[in-house]
């Protein structure tokens, strides 16, 4: 039953120009995320949009990953590399979860699998109860590289996802305008990406994902390419944006302080192949600001996570020495 539904939905999205209108209405009974509707229509209030539906019946977790295995095959030698090995992860509605781990441990692979960009060799991924087989309007990705389309203006880039879904131009523009304000790009709407700084490009990248109003927002080291100060500013802004939108977020990063600052829960990956070493709940108060960094708990949490990663890395190192 679920499978049939998923397939038809997926097909609809690919096939019809007017495809799935706002995500969340896509044929499922009212779901938690339909609480996003007032947000889309109205201006941002000081308080997050109320979500009566989600309180009533959060039927399925927003993300359910079970036994995920991702393997790459070398195109020349045929050799197999396991990038992710047996990951289980569940993310509830409105939760901000971050995966941390060393470079090359399979974070991007994991995120891309959730995005539907690569196929896992084993395991299952479901977003709001729907099995993931390919990209869909219920998810939006913010890539590590901004990869804005250079021939589209800032506004054109933000509306890109909506244009693909056949949202009428006027409506797409209107929706995009709100996110222009949210990511503080007012005045730059008609600039081409080439004229923007790295930080501004990354804001457009973020707005391009947010405007599609996904169930699940996927962030792949969104600030890794930025200089330290810009990165801190962007982290503060992301906190602010999250306070206003309360999106369900899966982020991956190798920056532990970033993970602790932003998340409700931090998932620690081992070195390649990525497995979950630990899950750490971050109980820093919400709504959070960048000042949370000066909390005494903040240092404790970062040290703890750092310890887990180093411990597993060193264990591996001594192992190989012994062999």
């Amino acid at each position: 039953m679920t499978n049939v539904l998923t397939n038809t939905l997926a097909f609809d999205f690919g096939g019809t120009p007017f495809g799935v209108a706002p995500p969340g209405v896509a044929g499922h009974p009212p779901k938690a995320d339909d609480g996003g509707a007032p947000l889309r229509e109205g201006p941002w209030g000081a308080t997050p949009a109320p979500e009566p539906v989600s309180a009533a019946a959060p039927t399925r977790p927003t993300l359910e990953v079970k036994g995920l295995v991702i393997t790459y095959q070398n195109q020349k030698t045929g050799e197999l590399t396991e990038a992710v090995s047996g990951v289980d992860l569940t993310i509830g509605h409105g939760e901000f979860v971050t995966v941390v781990g060393l470079s090359g441990c399979g974070k991007t692979s994991f995120l891309n699998a959730v995005a539907g960009l690569i196929k896992p060799v084993a395991g299952s991924i479901a977003v709001a109860g729907k099995t993931v087989t390919k990209p869909g309007p219920d998810r939006a990705v913010v890539f590590q590289k901004a990869t804005l389309l250079p021939w589209r203006t800032v506004l054109g880039n933000i509306t890109y996802g909506l244009d693909l879904r056949g949202v009428p131009r006027k409506e797409a523009r209107l929706r995009a305008e709100k996110y222009v304000d949210l990511v503080q790009l007012r005045g730059f709407e008609h600039f081409y990406p080439g004229a923007l700084s790295g930080g501004m490009q990354q804001r457009v990248n973020l707005a391009r994902a947010l405007v599609t109003d996904p169930h699940l927002l996927l962030l792949d080291e969104p600030f890794a390419a930025l200089d330290a100060i810009t990165r801190e500013n962007m982290q503060a802004e992301l906190l602010n944006i999250w306070n206003l939108t309360r999106k369900t977020v899966l982020m991956v990063t190798h920056q532990i302080d970033e993970a602790v600052l932003l998340s409700d829960r931090v998932v620690v990956f081992s070195g390649r192949p990525g497995r979950i070493l630990a899950e750490i709940r971050i109980n820093l108060p919400r709504p959070r600001t960048a000042d949370a960094k000066y909390c005494s708990d903040f240092d404790l949490l970062t040290k703890k996570i750092c310890g887990i990663i180093q411990h597993s890395a060193s264990k591996k190192a001594t192992w190989s020495y012994e062999i």
Binding site: P135, P137, A140, F143, R152, T153, L164
Partner: protein
């Protein structure tokens, strides 16, 4: 601040004016040298003409309408041939680059034609299409089409994987990927293709008319050469050169406009 900007602009303007003056200066110097050597009989005017004689002959040809008649005839052939080359070349190149199996199947054929001197096919075209415009148009098409095909093919094969990934992540269908990613990113290649095709097309017109026919710049060039009208030959050389430069500059200008996104603001 304002004055600085003003200064900057003035300097830039001055620089480009000096550049222009120098390039014009070189041409004028050569023309003067030519004129003087002809006047002093250092070179035989019978074979080498002179700038003043070229100008007089040119004006005469304009006045009696012969020049215009031939330019019109050549222009007709060129426009038809170039238009057809764009009409067919662009989609063919796109198909070759976009569909892997089409690429595999047709690339050897395309390469074979690409490297072959097109004028060698003119006798065939005359047999197939007769001595009228059709054979000449065919040669222009065949001359101009390959740069377009090859450039569009390369464009399709060089689509940035990251842009493609963005398209796919946001749910683009193949068709949408083509329209929103492949086509816009192929514009620089298209413009290069058009520029090359223009040059080749021009070459094709002249070559076809020299080969056979009763009007057109190439025909007249051939006729004037055969009858030792050196002045007329030079007038026509100047005409052909001017068209080449005008086409090339205008396409260059267009590509600068179109690719403004590469540098800055709308």
């Amino acid at each position: 601040m304002k004055y600085d900007l003003y200064d900057f602009r003035t300097r830039k303007l001055l620089e480009s004016l000096i550049g222009l003056a120098m390039s014009v200066g070189v041409i004028i110097a050569l023309l003067v040298l030519w004129e003087v050597s002809a006047d002093l009989n250092l070179i035989d005017p019978m074979f080498s003409s002179s700038p003043s004689r070229v100008v007089t002959t040119g004006l005469e040809m304009i006045a009696d309408g012969t020049l215009w008649k031939h330019i019109k005839a050549s222009g007709r052939v060129f426009l038809a041939g170039f238009g057809l080359a764009v009409l067919f070349g662009v989609p063919i190149g796109v198909a070759l680059g976009w569909f892997k199996w089409v690429n595999r199947a047709f690339t050897p054929l395309v390469s074979a034609f690409y490297t072959m001197p097109r004028i060698a096919l003119m006798p065939l075209f005359i047999i197939w299409f007769g001595l009228g415009d059709a054979a000449r148009i065919a040669l222009v098409v065949l001359s101009a089409i390959f740069p377009l095909i090859v450039n569009m093919q390369v464009a399709m094969q060089n689509i940035d994987g990251d842009y493609r990934k963005v398209g796919i992540a946001y749910g683009a269908t193949q068709w949408q990927l083509f329209w929103t990613i492949a086509l816009p990113s192929s514009v620089p290649f298209l413009l290069t293709g058009l520029r090359l095709a223009m040059g080749r097309g021009l070459l094709g017109v002249v070559a076809a008319e020299i080969f056979g026919g009763a009007e057109g710049v190439g025909y007249m060039l051939q006729y004037a050469g055969a009858t030792f009208q050196i002045d007329v030959v030079f007038v026509l050389v100047v005409v052909i050169m001017s068209f080449g430069v005008i086409f090339d500059r205008s396409l260059f200008w267009i590509s600068r406009r179109v690719e403004s996104w590469k540098i800055a603001e709308a």
